[in-house]
Symmetry: C2
Subunit: 375 residues, 2 copies
Amino acid sequence: MNYKTENIKTITVSKALKLDCGRTVKDFPLAYETYGKLSDTKDNAILVFHALTGDQFVSGINPVTKKEGWWVTAVGPGKAIDTNKYFVICANVIGGCMGSWGPKEIDKKTKEPYGLNFPVITIKDMVKAQESLLDHLGIEKLLCATGGSMGGMQLLQFCTTFPKKTFSAIPIACSSSHSAQNIALNELARQAIMADPIWDNGKYFLKNTQPKNGLAVARMVGHISYLSEQGMQEKFGRKLQEKADYEFSFNADFQVESYLRHQGSSFVERFDANSILYITRAMDYFDLSKQFKDGLAEAFKNQTTKYLVISFSSDWLYTTKENKDIVIALNASGADVSYSEIETDKGHDSFLLNESEFLKTLKAFIDSMYEKFKK
Amino acid sequence: MNYKTENIKTITVSKALKLDCGRTVKDFPLAYETYGKLSDTKDNAILVFHALTGDQFVSGINPVTKKEGWWVTAVGPGKAIDTNKYFVICANVIGGCMGSWGPKEIDKKTKEPYGLNFPVITIKDMVKAQESLLDHLGIEKLLCATGGSMGGMQLLQFCTTFPKKTFSAIPIACSSSHSAQNIALNELARQAIMADPIWDNGKYFLKNTQPKNGLAVARMVGHISYLSEQGMQEKFGRKLQEKADYEFSFNADFQVESYLRHQGSSFVERFDANSILYITRAMDYFDLSKQFKDGLAEAFKNQTTKYLVISFSSDWLYTTKENKDIVIALNASGADVSYSEIETDKGHDSFLLNESEFLKTLKAFIDSMYEKFKK
């Protein structure tokens, strides 16, 4: 993984940030990207939070990987989140590896990458770091904030930690508390990385290498969990990979095997193994109710933000039930909340795909919020 | 993994077996165990097929691992499959590692373990090898044959390959054709093993070692898939492992992490990594309909065996839908079939647990079959 980072926009967060683990940090980099133009009245800003393996390059072509931005289906000129109309902001999370402060950044003390000397961070730490970006951009109140998966978890944290910072919020396919199954899947990914001797207790960077095998297996875990059983059956079934019959070997006979191997091996080119450890840990530690004595009801108390919660029927990673629990808690707190379950067999991945009902729902809500918020 | 194998019963299969891959083999070992006593009229024999990581030690104490047999909940004196009344037989599958012909056995040609020189086998190969055991025991027709998971797949194969060999059959939590998701999970397990440099293209036995890290990760994949989301949430939730709060480290903070690590590390003591490769491959290749020109309808044509298909409501590995598809195909072929879906949140694991509705169903069916079959 050798990024050319000259095109990455970065701020230095100079405000001291007290991390949940107890350490205080300051003067660390936060990389970000923006799309569209901020209006003179600053009433059209939308903050997007990215998921586990995402980054700040939401739309257009990612200048580092040269591939399309991860949410190009939803964000861009004329898209559901229309960058001709709205100013879209996304920051790379701390703990990440696309220019923000993370385990592959240089520790000023040792002059080497942090590796496992990087502190274990939380979703709250990520969100607090991103508040500084809004200050930097001079945005007091966002029109909307949104995110799917871990992005949704950041959003829920953002809305409770900074209750006045956004007019509206769209948590997508997420949870207010990471489930046992999701902790288990993350642990599986971490163990796959840590089982690779190249990982070497996080010090692989000393040899300018990556635990590629372990990281590829970790990525395969993700890809299986992002699809639904039915979706996988429809997409791959038992189709063979360019062969007439079984090969009676351990090569990739089935298309689904070939797909997973490809996803695994291409991922290691663009992502840092230690970042997976840190970000999955932050997800596992996420439990909004634990932060408040009276749980979720207290977390969402006095919210003036207008919510739309979206889930996908075949998502087994962040189930409809988990998303509905957010709606129930928001309702119990008297918040303004609506809810949409999108019927699809595409599983958790749906929020990244061209799912027209989802994109229409997204667009309609944001446009109506703008009508209310614009100055 | 160093077994003391002196107590293992074994036959040598002398009949030539033409494997699906094209190779023909003979004079190979097949390890087995029996429980209870075969009646003089030989009308009380029940054949049990084991699952991926099972073996022939169904009940009592496994003489090798010194732990309880894998189906002690269902098989034993006074149990649902009552060994005071029935004669229970179980063989270790070929490809396995509990005494049957498998990759850790010595290749007479090279005087070394086979490793990857072992042929890629199929469920049909496993079942054909086991027919020789019935010949050896002098059993022409079984009262019943049963098995869960891969055991159920072997059973379906057995009933179609040897349609006159069993009076009744109970396929449990299985499928007539391995799904894309299940192929994907097996591929994940294989890649975890093959990613471990100790695996060394299957030649780890030369150094008298095992790819422990990779094999442990592979086992964790299994354990996640055997439980249901709800079951995991109830069993583990976000409970911490003997600590008051997060440790802000990569140690096992959560009980579910500790559980998975334990399952992984204890598994490497009792199972051979190459066996996992071979057995998962056999499962992936299983597609009963592919063996018959007219698919499943032809597979089950002229069946006189009486079937009871059992599935578990929260099993996402071998879903109720997949089990119902077997029932539909049997019905379409005019077979005698009944079906029971057990309501439980315990997932695929249910067939190994003390699930009283399941065990009652099993007992009632077998006892009623015995009333019809006994001489």
